[in-house]
Amino acid sequence: MSNFAAPGGKASSIPLVGREVEPTLFEMSVPGRRSFQLRTTGVPEMAIEDIIPASHLNPKMVEIAEVSERDLVAHFTRLSHRQFSVDLGMYPLGSCTMKYNPKFCDAVAAMTGLNGIHPAAPASLTQGWIELLWTLEQRLVSITGMAGATLQPAAGAAGELTGLLLIRAYHEARGENRTRILIPDSAHGTNPASVTLGGYEVTTIPSNDRGLVDLDILKQSLGPDVAGIMLTNPNTVGLFEEEIQEIAQAVHESGGLLYYDGANLNAIVGVLRPGDMGFDVVHMNLHKTFATPHGGGGPGAGPVAVSERLVPYLPGPRPVRLADGSFGWSNVATSIGRVHGWHGNALVLARALAYITVHGSEGLRRVAQHAVLNANWLRVRMSGFLPAAYDRVCMHECTLSAASIKAQYGVRGVDIAKGLLEEGFHSPTVYFPLIVDEALMFEPTETESLQTLEALALSVERLVIRAQTDPESLHAAPRSTPVSRVDEARAARMLKATADAS
């Protein structure tokens, strides 16, 4: 075994001081202070009343805050010190693929020739951008094994809804009126929500005891009213749907289409392609597989790639390469229309292309291989104290269960998760997927080292021992964090969504 001397991967950052509450921008405000500085334009200073009718003027000024630049900097720098991040330590949140975000991709997004471009500038002045988007579309099509793609959806969920509208357009063009979409019970919540917004009804397919779609029930659920099925593969418990070919065949035979929720693409990128499994629509979370940073909750990007028969319906305008080698936009009458105000989250798309460019075919394959390696190593390493919900080879994440710990010591999954914060790691995903009791889903990703995995396993083992010997301390965890356990119920009961709310 390699060198384990260093406790790798922990956010072993430490208090600079005590645990004092940071005031809000509004509490720091003092009337008359200012930070802003604008250009001296020399434009005539017409009186506001001379250019805007009084009926439109706000009699009061909207109060923002009045702080000095120095205090502004201190405030947000201090807030940043109260925030866990990938750059500080391991973030093994299952289903979220919190891998390292290469700084190179940030540098690409910071190029003025990319981020200084107005989205409505004509194609002749934005050839670089259109080529970039066109190239990314080609790459995503190759990676998924599809025929065309749209880059517009701003996140995975937007991709889902877009995909469902494409499925709808397809069936409608064939004059078919299909009303149901099948979804396994393990699916991510965005899937059913998107189905509803897509105008379909959800039919839930239960998982079998192997954590997979129950093929028999699936087949029984199919029929002429089924528009399609949404699957994640590997599914949300981190297991590969081994009968995917049979599933695809059955769905296709009944006239339905297959939607691939690409949130878990990191497990298979470069190794398998959703297209080869029989999927017709695939969304990708670029902020997962392609490492664009998650920004504390976004921005992401959720491009959708489709098989040949769905290409005519893709949102437009789409980037195209013209006969003369230059680039332009194309829009077709059969398109479902645009799903974003402009061209999608362009700077996120640029980052993803940068990531794909440096990795290439072999690099992406290595990503999947090592993501799966890490998850399995962790699963086996922890099996002695925190058993897997399904005891066999997993893909890029492993779903463990604290059910027996809860039963024995009254310590729940959430307590283990909070305890892990004290250990310097981010928590795994808790209570998702819903089908696993006291689920703790770990997704280490390929960028974490063996030393970090070992340190994480040791921390979890320590917590399990603590659950046995001192369960109370875990109910009270975390204590060493900027704030201790937060009263979530109170937040909802006495909603205070702004500093002005009473």
Partner: protein
């Protein structure tokens, strides 16, 4: 090839040994062989970062628009983003964090978003903001869904003063929701409500200022909404709140807006920031995340995402929205940028935009053949009809160093209910606080040349 994987070959061998496996392929042994790629993906081999940098520098260099003085707007504006905002907004703790699922280690993002929400509430004049949507276009869709849910109706009356892309986006999603979207034409740059039947409407949607920059009398829309029991959705330019009445002051039930002007670069259209706020009554239908204040076990003030019961991970198909990842980093940046602007700065920016736009408009209409398309009041943007195709004019102006504006034929297609008559000669022009008198004068001079050629 770049590689961000730490494992050495020996470590991989060690780890496989621990798993009782011989090769990485064994990890995929349970997958049907027919599915596995026999060759690699059909994409180029990986290259190193510095090699890739050369490639991307090439893309950047081909965007000649980067070197033009920007007079384009249409919802995307060239505002000052000072170094201090860029420095703070790019701190890696904000950039590389996930959605704040564990509030104990996410107070940084949570508090920043709470401050953002407070600011959105103040700018909109409405009490309940959310923690961001993708952009204004999809934000409007969320607002329509909210109106449908609240009224049990599905007829959407949308002014054509709403940005054409927002309207197009609404039409796309209406395929799923089954909404009927009715677009109300403009007359002289303002919504002409006279012909529209608002009976049974779920929502009436108006832009303020509208996408042509024109100030509309929102009270007419409010009265219509009252009369027919519809919700009033106001899509407002958030910068305008520096001087103009807020959506809330006009009586809006829902405010939507594009947050790009607050600290986000033009970025070829994204990532931008969907602003959203509504009345207390609508709270249970709020789409997406919301951060609330609470306390920790020791009574210390703390923040957490709340009212989660509305969200898709709990309510699944009955959720108020499917939104999950949104645009948090842009929201954090907007809070920083607004903190930098402050009360006085927001007002000064709004004023400078309005003054610059009015100064330019006064000059531009002195060019023979150039006419304003409306004689109504406007804020910081206005449209003119040129004696030539606006697309051609833009190309010619680019040669002279200007991004002259947005061509309406490019923005809307062949025709649009917002413009009476031929679109192809209409140019939409915006001025921000970054444009100087000298630049504006040079612009007018250049346009004079271009149209007289």
């Amino acid at each position: 090839m770049a590689d961000y994987i730490p494992h050495t070959e020996e470590e991989v061998a060690d780890m496989l040994g621990f798993l009782g496996m011989n090769s990485l392929d064994d990890l995929f042994a349970h997958i049907p062989a027919a599915l596995k790629l026999s060759q690699g993906l059909d994409i180029p081999s990986g290259i190193t970062e510095p090699d890739a940098a050369a490639l991307f520098n090439g893309y950047a260099a081909n965007n000649v628009a980067a070197n033009l003085l920007c007079f384009a707007g249409a919802g995307a504006y060239d505002h000052e983003v000072p170094p201090v905002v860029r420095a703070l907004g790019s701190r890696s703790e904000f950039v590389t964090a996930y959605t704040p699922y564990q509030p104990e280690v996410a107070q940084g993002v949570l508090q920043a978003v709470f401050e953002f929400q407070t600011l959105v509430s103040r700018i909109s004049g409405l009490p309940i903001p959310n923690a961001s949507l993708y952009d204004a276009a999809t934000g409007m869709v969320e607002a329509l869904n909210m109106a449908a849910g609240s009224t049990g109706r599905n007829k959407m009356i949308i002014s054509s003063g709403i940005h054409p892309h927002w309207r197009q986006t609404a039409r796309t999603f209406a395929h799923g929701t089954g909404h009927e979207t009715i677009e109300v034409p403009l007359k002289n740059g303002q919504t002409d409500w006279s012909q529209v039947d608002c009976a049974d409407a779920a929502a009436i949607v108006i832009g303020y200022p509208n996408y042509l920059g024109v100030l509309e009398d929102v009270s007419v829309a409010r009265a219509l909404a009252d009369k027919h029991g519809a919700l009033l959705i106001v899509g407002a330019d958030p910068v305008a709140s520096g001087i103009l009445k807020t959506a809330g002051q006009w009586g809006a039930d829902i405010f939507i807006g594009e947050g790009q002007p607050f600290g986000t670069a033009l970025s070829f259209g994204g990532p931008y920031l969907g602003l959203f706020a509504c009345t207390e009554e609508l709270i249970r239908r709020l789409p997406g995340r919301i951060v609330g204040e609470t306390v920790d076990t020791e009574g210390r003030r703390a923040y957490v995402t709340t009212l989660r019961a509305r969200e898709q991970d709990i309510r699944r198909e009955k959720a108020t929205s499917n939104i999950c990842s949104n645009q948090t980093l842009m929201a954090v940046t907007a809070a920083i940028q607004l903190g930098w602007l402050g009360t006085a700065g927001l007002r000064e920016v709004a004023l400078a935009c309005a003054r610059g736009a009015h100064y330019l408009q006064e000059q531009i209409v002195t060019i023979p053949g150039v006419q304003a398309i409306s004689d109504e009041s406007f804020f910081r943007e206005f449209a003119v009809r040129l004696p030539m195709s606006s697309e051609t004019a833009i190309v010619e102006m680019a040669k002279r160093g200007f991004l002259a504006g947005v061509s309406l034929s490019q923005l809307c297609g062949e025709s649009d209910a917002s413009i009476e008559g031929d679109l192809s000669r209409v140019l939409l022009i915006a001025v921000t606080e970054r444009r100087t008198k000298a630049e504006i004068d040079a612009y007018v001079q250049a346009l004079r040349e271009v149209v007289s050629q």
